[in-house]
């Protein structure tokens, strides 16, 4: 536990990125990522729940009995999700409608329960805060990556702003469910290629040295 604490933040962004590396929380990631604004809302809502439930769980971690821990975590998470649900409804009814039941479904996002079990239940509030911020940021950025590609190709816009001239024929498939699978596969491929090149370069550097 001597490593610098900034590591807790950074690891969520890349090395343990929740979506591209750990494959956690895929359901909401694919279901609402058909436009950039939906992705951003979903990412922020999830980050908020991750952060607040993490802090609460970490604060009362010594009080929770071992056998009842999952149930307690779920209750805490569900309360925050209910809050977020009502807040989003108050801010924008349209957004709430387009995200539909998926806001409530943040409860069963494996990422949140996973972090609660693996990190928040064993670490201090400060470290949990950093971990949750990193994971939340990683989640939001990944969602934005998927969402913007789908929106640009599927409707020719980004955050509702048209990017192409009138003659652009949108790839409707990208905003349909199957597009979600394809775009995620594409991103995994890109990341795999990147990691491969890096590994090869590191190996080459190792030989020279």
């Amino acid at each position: 536990m001597t490593q610098p604490t900034t590591n807790e933040f950074i690891k969520g962004l890349w090395r343990q990125n929740p979506i591209f590396v750990q494959m956690l929380g895929l359901c909401p990631a694919l279901a609402v990522s058909n436009s950039a604004i939906n992705s951003l809302t979903m990412g922020l809502a999830t980050s908020f729940v991750l952060l607040s439930s993490g802090v609460v769980i970490s604060a009362i971690r010594s009080l929770i009995p071992r056998d009842a821990r999952i149930v307690s975590y779920i209750c805490i998470i569900a309360s925050f999700v209910t809050t977020v649900d009502y807040v989003i409804k108050a801010i924008s009814l349209d957004l709430h409608k387009s995200l539909g039941a998926f806001i409530s479904l943040i409860v069963v996002n494996c990422l949140i329960l996973g972090r609660a079990e693996a990190f928040a239940s064993k670490n201090t509030i400060g470290r949990t805060l950093q971990d949750a911020l990193g994971m939340g940021a990683g989640f939001t950025i990944s969602l934005l990556c998927i969402g913007s590609v789908r929106e640009i190709l599927g409707s020719g816009t980004l955050f509702g702003v048209a990017l192409f001239p009138e003659s652009f024929q949108p790839w409707t498939i990208m905003i349909l469910p199957s597009g979600g699978f394809f775009v995620l596969a594409l991103w995994l491929l890109v990341i795999g290629l990147f990691e491969n090149t890096r590994a090869r370069r590191a190996a080459a550097a190792g030989e020279h040295a």
Binding site: V71, A78, S104, V108, F182, A185
Partner: protein, 194 residues
């Protein structure tokens, strides 16, 4: 998708047209995790079907109760608690009745609790205002759709293991592309219902 839709249309809609996995992306974790072997996929389908059925009935009764006491904000918490206890029950039953299945499902059995397909089912049926019989038909349809998608996926992945796939695409990437193609072909069902 109204509250008074005929039963067959609800079933076909949940199972094929708006398949939970391939159109709503619900229950992706077990879909990716348990779909490597056909036999495990079928057992998982069975377990999920049972949990879905029980959860749907409980969610219907709970919703009536919550409406009675005028506390809709408790819906989410009570649903998830019911689902968690049902899963616990299934786990205990399976360990007693079929230890082999229990071992094969491994970590994915307790994870049914966080299977969004089940909570999603409970929330959808409440949002759409289904009555008791429609809720059960909806649950059966959704479970059939989930099992179908899981079994199809497992069948394809078993073949995929023998195919010369580029090293980079192996694993999750290939599975995702297969899922995308499956989802694409399920769109062909779109004309079935009204």
């Amino acid at each position: 998708m109204m509250a008074d839709a005929p039963h067959w249309s609800i079933f076909v809609n949940a199972a094929l047209i708006n398949n939970f996995v391939l159109a709503y992306f619900l229950g992706l974790c077990p879909f990716m995790g348990v779909s490597a072997k056909l036999a495990t996929a079928i057992r998982m389908g069975g377990a999920v079907t049972f949990v879905m059925l029980v959860a749907s009935i409980c969610a219907y009764l709970l919703n009536q109760l919550l409406l009675l006491v005028d506390a809709p904000y408790l819906r989410l918490i009570s649903y998830i608690l019911v689902i968690a206890s049902t899963v616990q029950l299934v786990e205990m039953l399976l360990r007693k009745l079929s230890p082999a299945t229990f071992r094969a499902l491994g970590i994915f059995l307790p994870l049914i609790t966080t299977n969004c397909a089940i909570l999603g089912l409970a929330l959808f049926q409440t949002n759409r205002g289904y009555g008791f019989s429609r809720a059960i038909v909806f649950a059966l349809g959704a479970a059939a759709g989930f099992t179908l998608a899981l079994v199809l996926m497992a069948g394809v992945r078993e073949k995929l293991d023998l195919a010369p796939v580029p090293e980079l695409v192996k694993g999750t990437t290939a599975a995702l592309i297969v899922a995308g193609i499956l989802s694409l072909s399920f769109m062909g069902f779109a004309g079935l219902g009204s």
